[in-house]
């Protein structure tokens, strides 16, 4: 478990959260491995895990009639798959598929949510860490929606 604690403690999202949190998170954590084309999760499934990627790459996809699966973002080493765990109804809105052999740590989101409900200081500290990631992804989506590389209108 020391290994998992070390990984959680060193992750940029959790730096400075203290040994209690690290011990809690590590207690809710497990090593995960996905082969190429294996799914981490599918849309509409319960969002009960947070994945910290250590190696490999994951594609976030939406299935569109007539086009099949469309990738709208890829995530790699050091990044987080799964922000939906924070907000009800805690369901994934997209599919996540490993593009290549991918390894990481999965944190039990329900365990973290329960802890945040009890300890609001911890909840606020976690929110402050996850919100910037959410905002960065929102900004990136805005740029993608502008379709800046498309033909001039």
């Amino acid at each position: 478990m020391e290994g998992l604690e070390g990984i959680v403690a060193e992750h940029r999202l959790f730096q400075g959260l203290g040994p209690d949190f690290v011990a809690l998170a590590a207690g809710c954590a497990k090593n995960v491995r996905f082969n190429a084309d294996e799914y981490l999760f599918h849309a509409e499934e319960p969002a009960d895990w947070i994945y910290l990627l250590r190696h490999g790459r994951v594609a976030l996809e939406l299935v569109t009639p007539g086009r099949g699966a469309v990738q709208f973002e890829t995530l790699g080493e050091g990044e987080i798959v799964g922000l939906t765990w924070l907000l009800p109804p805690y369901r994934w809105g997209y599919d996540a598929r490993a593009i290549e052999l991918t390894r990481g740590i999965a944190l039990d989101a329900k365990c973290l949510r329960d802890k945040c409900e009890v300890d609001h200081d911890l909840g606020y500290a976690l929110l402050k860490r996850f919100l910037p990631v959410l905002v960065q992804r929102l900004q990136a989506m805005r740029l993608q929606m502008l379709d800046v590389y498309g033909p001039p209108r």
């Binding site: 594609a59 086009r67 990738q71 890829t74 590389y149």
Partner: protein, 286 residues
């Protein structure tokens, strides 16, 4: 101020006179984008140009447009230009056949300051067709590769089918002289590369940001965000160079169509330093 000489023109008297050139080769890069290789239609050598400069191409009887040079400045035998069909003149350019003639003025504008990158890491950030004006700089960087530190090209485009100069990028990647990362805004499930905006690749750059230099070209909103992200990782604003695009007509700073606050993009740009234009780029009036 009563002598005619006092009113001498600020530019050479023939600056508005196109030179006649001939299409020697044409290559379809994308469904709406072609690269033309232009050679002289007479015995005179072609004008010398620097990476980052542009010419005015005149399709006889149709009109004139500014077009970035996308070829190797070290090859004086031809001027290579990549054109996307978006209007009447650009569309006419893409319909020219080998042997057809057209008018050419220039080259005009400022150049990518490639030599400023000596002994420094160099980051090239291209978006969409913005890779074309950066290709001359890439040729120059690769021709003097040992003089530079780490060389990274980040290229973002709409979808995998829209990747410009695809074969050349693959060739450069195989040479291992340059780190190349390509990202697309969206892709099918068979795409194995990055998906997401090009700015997302910037925080992961393994360069010495404090001393590195960046050359950025693409849609203006992409350049704004890319330059901001480069600055966020520690790059000096004065080390970030952007190629701006405005409605250029005369190309010699007379007509005012391409005015950018106190500058004219045609003669004070198109390549400009980020610290000089940062505050102006988000203003809708400009």
């Amino acid at each position: 101020m009563d002598r005619l000489a006092d009113f001498a023109p600020m530019v050479a008297p023939d600056a508005m006179l196109p030179r006649v050139v001939r299409v020697a080769r044409r290559t379809r890069d994308l469904p709406d984008t072609w690269t033309l290789e232009l050679v002289p239609a007479d015995d005179m050598p072609l004008p010398v140009y620097l990476p980052g400069q542009f010419t005015m191409l005149y399709v006889l009887g149709v009109g004139e447009i500014p077009v970035s040079i996308s070829g190797d400045a070290a090859d004086p035998s031809r001027i290579v230009q990549t054109i996307r069909a978006v209007g009447k003149v650009s569309e006419a350019c893409t319909h020219l056949s080998v042997g057809d003639t057209l008018g050419l003025r220039g080259p005009y504008g400022t150049a990518w300051p490639v030599a400023e990158g000596y002994a420094r890491d160099v980051v090239v950030v291209a978006g969409g067709l913005g890779l074309a004006p950066l290709r001359p700089a890439l040729y120059q960087l690769l021709a003097s590769r040992p003089r530079f530190g780490k060389l990274v090209l980040l290229y973002g485009t709409r979808k995998p089918d829209d990747i410009l100069f695809r074969r050349q990028l693959a060739g450069w990647r195989r040479q291992l002289d340059m780190e190349i990362e390509v990202t697309v805004d969206h892709a099918g499930a068979d795409w194995r590369g990055h998906v997401g905006v090009v700015t997302k690749l910037i925080p992961r750059l393994g360069v010495d940001a404090a001393t590195a230099m960046a050359l950025v070209c693409g849609p203006e909103v992409m350049m704004r965000f890319a330059a901001s992200a480069l600055h966020d990782i520690g790059m000096a604003e004065s080390s970030i160079h952007l190629s701006l695009e405005r409605n250029m007509k005369c190309a010699i700073g007379l007509c005012g169509h391409c005015q950018f606050a106190g500058s004219f993009v045609c003669k004070d740009g198109a390549v400009m330093r980020y610290d000089k234009v940062r505050r102006l780029m988000g203003l809708k009036e400009i």
